[in-house]
């Protein structure tokens, strides 16, 4: 697992209060990890803060899984 993926995983474990083993790349925030719309917004904000990036609302709407979040952050950090 990449450094980014590990960090994302630990943020999700902290914010959503879920088990680390459940935070797979395929896991959906809402369907698998029990997040509601407010949890998802908070998570996105925490990722912005931790990785010092901006995730526009339109992009955030397309981040549904852990993998989506990791991919977005990796791309954002390359730019």
């Amino acid at each position: 697992m990449s450094e980014i993926a590990t960090k994302v995983q630990s943020i999700i474990v902290d914010k959503l209060g879920v088990d680390e083993k459940d935070v797979t790349m395929e896991a959906s925030f809402t369907a698998d990890l029990g997040a509601d719309s407010l949890d998802t917004v908070e998570l996105i904000m925490e990722l912005e803060k931790e990785f010092d990036i901006t995730i526009p609302d339109e992009a955030a709407e397309n981040i549904a899984t852990v993998g989506d979040a990791v991919a977005f952050i990796e791309k954002a950090q390359q730019n």
């Binding site: 914010k15 959503l16 209060g17 407010l38 917004v41 908070e42 904000m45 912005e48």
Partner: protein, 415 residues
């Protein structure tokens, strides 16, 4: 239509002198003070460095980590106390008609800690507007009532009352009216407060409302004493399960006491100072007795608002002396704030619990920390320093709030 009678069937308390209604009562009759130096934050630079904090309360014993983050302490306290009251009432949440169960909950300051933290983090973050989506639902005053409805599925009337330090007394009065009118069978009512924060201690301190007896916290809350110098801020929650007498009898519930009436008035005088003659307080007590269809001479006990402020204690005792005349000197009075401190929006309910338990146990808890009589205060029987045994049939509980709100609740022994 005839009004329904309303009874108290469940008690729950989380206070600086006890984490349950029973522990609260045990401390009250022992005369235990819950005051100490503030540990919640570094109060070194504050004029007031003392408060009545909860003891040994760990939110993680009641909520998971995720819930703790989403609930301001005022909501955590409220849920814990309400749960105790619901269990104590023996209310079966699986079989009760949940559309007929409501929650009316008071708080003075709401989520003041969450507010302070969020604003601080905004300013520290160079004013980048990154507000948590949980900020608003943590701060708003009604959220505790909302959480209780979600937790138990109670779909009846659900809202918060705000009348500063009379908030939970207003909640209980509203619950009385709702049940009387048949709008609900059961109401979980009470209030919670978690305001031992920099901004509250600083704000109340600037108003000269707080005791600054920092070198002797245990004796700082001394209602009706000559050398009282302000209130000691407390925190926690109180909860009552109130229900119609018919509903309580039908399910064979234990009845602590009957809530027979309430009186509500405004001083229409000043934003923080009580009226010097206690006119609003006097009228609230008169109305509560009248609402109960009782006589002034029936009153055995008054749990006063008695905050230990220089002005408030004078006007309240004058109000009692003036309203009750000769009978005033036959009434047992006390201020349990001498022990648990001033729980602001939760005070009315915590003191209603003390009143109900005084009726049930036939004991008036003391007003501790009395050292010298104040010549400006009528020398009523304030139950100074030691509890007294007394058969209590009819009792009042006062709560007054900044803004000039006065509430008096009346309870009668259920026979």
């Amino acid at each position: 239509m005839s009004f329904k009678r309303v009874v108290v069937t469940g008690l729950g308390a989380l206070t600086p002198v006890g984490n349950s209604a029973q522990q609260l009562w045990d401390s009250l009759i022992k005369g235990v003070s819950g005051a100490g130096l503030i540990t919640r934050f570094d109060a070194e630079k504050f004029k007031c460095r003392i408060a009545c904090e909860l003891k040994e309360f760990d939110p993680l014993c009641h909520f998971d980590r995720k819930e703790v983050r989403k609930l301001d302490p005022f909501t955590q306290y409220g849920i814990v106390a309400a749960e105790e009251a619901i269990v104590d009432a023996g209310l079966n949440v699986d079989t009760v008609d949940k559309s007929r169960v409501g929650v009316v909950w008071g708080t003075g300051m709401g989520g003041v800690l969450a507010f302070q933290q969020e604003i601080s983090s905004y300013l520290e973050g160079a004013c980048v507007p990154r507000f948590s989506p949980f900020f608003v639902p943590k701060v708003i005053s009604d959220i505790c009532a909302g959480h209780l409805s979600i937790k138990y599925g109670f779909c009846g009337p659900n809202y918060a009352t705000a009348a500063a330090c009379a908030s939970s007394a207003v909640a209980i009065s509203d619950a009385l009216m709702l049940i009387r009118l048949g709008k609900a069978d059961v109401i979980v009512s009470g209030g919670s407060e978690a305001a031992i924060t920099e901004c509250s201690i600083g704000g109340f301190g600037s108003m000269m409302a707080l005791s600054t007896r920092n070198d002797d916290p245990l004796t700082a809350s001394r209602p009706f004493d000559k050398d009282r110098d302000g209130f000691v801020l407390g925190e926690g929650a109180g909860a009552l399960v109130l229900e119609s007498l018919d509903h309580a009898l039908a399910r064979g519930a234990h009845i602590y006491a009957e809530l027979t009436g309430s009186g509500l008035t405004a001083d229409a005088y000043h934003i923080t100072a009580s009226h010097p003659e206690g006119t609003g307080a006097k009228e609230a007590m008169r109305l509560a007795v009248k609402d109960s269809e009782m006589q002034l001479t029936d009153v055995d006990y008054i749990n006063t608002h008695g905050t230990s402020t220089p002005l408030g204690d004078v006007s309240e005792s004058k109000a009692v002396a003036d309203l009750f005349g000769d009978h005033a000197y036959k009434i047992s009075l006390n201020s349990t704030k001498s022990m648990h401190g001033h729980l602001l929006g939760a005070a009315g309910c915590v003191e209603a619990i003390a009143t109900v338990l005084a009726i049930q146990n036939g004991v008036v808890p003391p007003t501790i920390n009395h050292f010298a009589d104040d010549p400006n205060i009528p020398q009523l029987d304030f139950t100074f320093n030691k509890p007294v045994n007394r058969d209590i049939t009819f009792a009042l509980s006062n709560a007054f709030g900044f803004g000039g709100h006065n509430v008096c609740l009346a309870f009668r022994k259920y026979l």
